[in-house]
Amino acid sequence: MITYSFLQHYWWFIMSTLGGLLVFLLFVQGGQSMLFSLSKNEDEKKLLINTLGRKWEYTFTTLVTFGAAFFAAFPLFYSTSFSGAYWVWMLILFCFVLQAVSYEFQSKPGNIFGPTTYRAFLFINGMLGTFLLGVAVATFFTGSEFTVNKGNITGMGSLGLVISQWQSPWMGLEALANFRNWCLGLAVLFLARTLASLYFVNRLNHKTLENRSRKFVLYNGIPFILFFLIFLIWTLVSDGFAVDPDTEVISMSKNKYFNNFLDMPVVSIFFLLGVVGVLFGIFATVFNPNFKKGIVFAGTGTVLTVMMLLLVAGFNNTAYYPSTIDLQSSLTLQSSSSSEFTLQVLSVVSLLLPVVVGYIIYAWRALEKKKLGLDDLKSDGHSY
């Protein structure tokens, strides 16, 4: 039976899937953050830019769809988080705007700011974009300072017309005062760099860069594991935000996220599989100089791990976007979702997703039949 609750959970599953895919595709950003350190000359830089530049639209499109899906399926999150954590989201957007033009503009004659400027933009997007996305997602577990009162729109309340009110004058930047948020931010940054290194090992027809990338897998993989473990353990032992399914009253619950893993064994199994996939991808690449499939294992592992982490944030009667100053304002799947009819419509549309995945796989394989070397940049008809 497809109930309203089922649809709300189904759409949170879709959001989690998109989130997992987005974090995997952040390997593009990770690679950008290593433009200046991984390459030693112009040819190498050009090759890295062209390898990543053929994939930037996927990350960008996934981010746009992720945002739009939140708007359509969970509009109260869209209105509360984006308006409240204004500066975090704005900085993320600035980073991505700079990225969108930089690939195309950096090598074109007449780019008045010079290629180094655009490459610096790519670097900024790679560092700041990934870190801030990690920080923003961390607040799903650590909470933010906001209130929600739908009655405000009648203008009868004391706070004026606006339904979602952010209480911190820092408009989202206060999230940087929480070390746990930093940990996930840094974990995402180093994960993106690790995935990029694995991607280079797999895709580049350039021995020097391949060997250097293997070392970068280790240099970035270790801090990733460290920060991710700190965030994970801290989250598992912390109190979480539980929702009473009958009364919809929100309360603090001891070890809520740890209990969510215990209550949802399937999620736990896939989470562990994901973690193992990422670790295998990293260590097999580091210790076996002939192993090049690390990105397949780590990529799949990343999608699974992030998906399961987001499911733990929203499933099992959990408030996925908690308010630390007014518990009852915390957003839950029930309180923040679109209507049943809209979710039904969106669910029908979501059946097209396998078709989308299908043609993405076709296009990806069509362009990746052979590895990319410097010679291909001249023969492919278009290069960055």
Binding site: F71, T80, Y86, F94, G110, L159, M171
Partner: protein, 532 residues
């Protein structure tokens, strides 16, 4: 009603959104139109094997690529700004408005973003036919993307397929089909996409004219200018048709916008359409007796006909809409602003009472207040307006934008027709004056596109959702300083990127299409010999 909102913050949020939309529509029209042109060129290449068409395709593809990047960059900001700067809006209508945006992402944007890679990098990696398919799929993706965005925009101007839910305090979708097949959405889609085609046609014609003036890349330029002229002529003729459709719909759904477009203060039966006019700056109020025009040339009865398909129909002016009392098309009498405001206030009070009754468990009261709310909900947004003037858009901006846009549209129909005729008579080479006119007409096509959106968006003020939610009730609670800072950052960034984009395009154009390699020439000669 004490709104406790800072009007400077509302205005800066508006300015930020308007600026982003304005920049976005500088880049998107060219990509929408160029996509079609380069797809047609590549189809000819695949059909004939003529390498010069491939060369032409690749040249316009380069221009497309430069525009595409900056178009998507400004587009993402627009989408997220609904959340960042218009949070009340996002909750109040997100149940309906968000759907077309996510559908755009799933069915259109992914299509475009996926196949654009093959289009750019696949020339030597996939077969000719597979490449052509990728180019067309990129074009279809871009056009579908525009459709879903325009469905969303049209819904703001003509909200249908929804119902207000007092429990969730938001509007909820009840009929998805009504949303996507709305006559306003369909017409808006064709009008906006055709305007993109018109911009691209003027661009292709102008740049090709420049090559002909400079006597460079003659074969390429002649091919492009002829195709551009035909494409442009058809686009602008169809733009006139869809423009007529827009005017008709505006008169039915947004009569205040129509009145502002024509500077019409006092309604009349058999109203004429102003062909050319100058507004009187001394007219300060809708209610004074000052003549609104200094000068005007009117085409008799045409406004009545365009608006209502009846030469003698009554077209209400601004004053009529404020004071009401005239007969509507359905035979009822139009309400005045004061009456609408009163009913809007009743709706808001009923909502407050409904919530209180529900909380207290007063079931019979709940039903009474819900009925009162539904009876008056059509005017909910008027409760936020203070004075009649709040309900009137900026007449000067709307009037001049509309008329200049129409004049430019007519000009382009004539220009493309002349270039088409000269092209058929093989006289383009010798007609340098016409080539110069073609070149210097490019900015006017962009101007017309911008003016079209100004008419659509300024003309519908004060509403974000027609009659339901005015701009000042739709915003987020941000400090003015925050919004002003991001406005400045966006302004600097967009302007810098625009300058960079223009200089890159100029360089690419000066460089011209790539010369045909010797082996390509051999292949072409061989294929032509085989045909013979």
């Amino acid at each position: 009603m004490d709104l406790l909102l800072n009007s400077a913050m509302v205005n800066w949020s508006r300015a930020q959104f308007a600026m982003t939309a304005g920049y976005h529509w500088l880049f998107v029209p060219l990509t929408l139109g160029l996509a079609i042109i380069m797809s047609i060129m590549e189809s000819i290449y695949v059909k004939t094997g003529d390498e010069s068409w491939k060369r032409a395709t690749k040249f316009w593809q380069k221009i497309f690529g430069i525009n595409f990047a900056i178009g998507v960059a400004t587009g993402i900001i627009l989408e997220f700004q609904f959340g960042t700067n218009w949070s009340n809006y996002s909750w109040f209508v997100g149940d309906i408005f968000g759907a077309p945006l996510v559908i755009e992402g799933i069915v259109a944007f992914f299509l475009e973003a996926t196949f654009i890679s093959i289009m750019f990098f696949g020339w030597n990696r996939v077969s000719k036919k597979a490449h052509l398919t990728a180019t067309w799929l990129t074009t279809i993706g871009a056009t579908l993307s525009a459709y879903w965005i325009l469905v969303a925009n049209a819904w703001m101007q003509y909200p249908i397929g929804m119902e207000f839910n007092p429990d969730t305090v938001r509007n909820e979708m009840t009929d998805f089909w009504a949303l996507v097949s709305s006559s306003v959405a369909i017409n808006k889609f064709f009008h906006a996409v055709l305007s993109g085609w018109g911009v691209a046609a003027s661009f292709v014609v102008g740049i090709s004219a420049w090559y002909l003036i400079k006597k460079r890349h003659i074969d390429f330029a002649l091919k492009s200018i002829k195709m551009g002229a035909v494409f442009g002529f058809i686009s602008f003729v169809l733009l006139a048709v869809t423009g007529d459709g827009s005017a008709y719909q505006v008169s039915q759904k947004q009569p205040m916008k129509l009145a502002a477009m024509e500077g019409l203060y006092k309604g009349q039966a058999g109203a004429g359409l102003i062909a050319v006019g100058v507004l009187n700056p001394k007219k300060e109020s809708f209610d004074d007796d000052v003549n609104p025009y200094i000068f005007k040339i009117t085409i008799p009865k045409l406004l009545s006909y365009l608006g209502y398909r009846d030469l003698n129909a009554f077209v209400p002016g601004i004053k009529d809409i404020i004071y009401g009392g005239y007969k509507l098309q359905d035979g009822t009498t139009a309400l005045s602003f004061a009456e609408k405001k009163e009913r809007g206030q009743k709706a808001v009070e009923a909502l407050v009472n409904y919530k209180a009754a529900k909380e207290d468990g007063r079931i019979s009261d709940v039903e009474v207040f819900e009925k009162e709310l539904r009876d008056n909900y059509a005017y909910f947004g008027y409760s936020y307006l203070e004075n009649p003037e709040d309900n009137i858009p900026n007449v000067h901006i709307t009037f001049y934008s509309f008329h200049v846009m129409v004049i430019i549209g007519m000009y382009f129909i004539l220009l493309f027709l002349v270039i088409w005729i000269y092209g058929r008579k093989k006289k383009l080479h010798s007609s340098r004056w016409l080539l110069y006119v073609g070149l210097w007409s490019i900015p006017f096509a962009y101007l017309a596109g911008q003016l079209g959106w100004i008419v659509a968006e300024v003309g519908r003020q004060p509403w974000t959702i027609q009659d339901v939610l005015p701009v000042k009730a739709a915003v987020s609670n941000l400090g003015t300083g925050h919004v002003l800072t991001t406005f400045i950052l966006f302004a600097v960034m967009f302007t810098a990127l625009l300058v960079a984009e223009v200089t890159i395009m100029v360089k690419q154009i000066k460089k011209g299409p790539e010369e045909i390699h010797n082996d390509d020439i051999t292949k072409t000669v061989e294929s032509k010999s085989k045909e013979k």
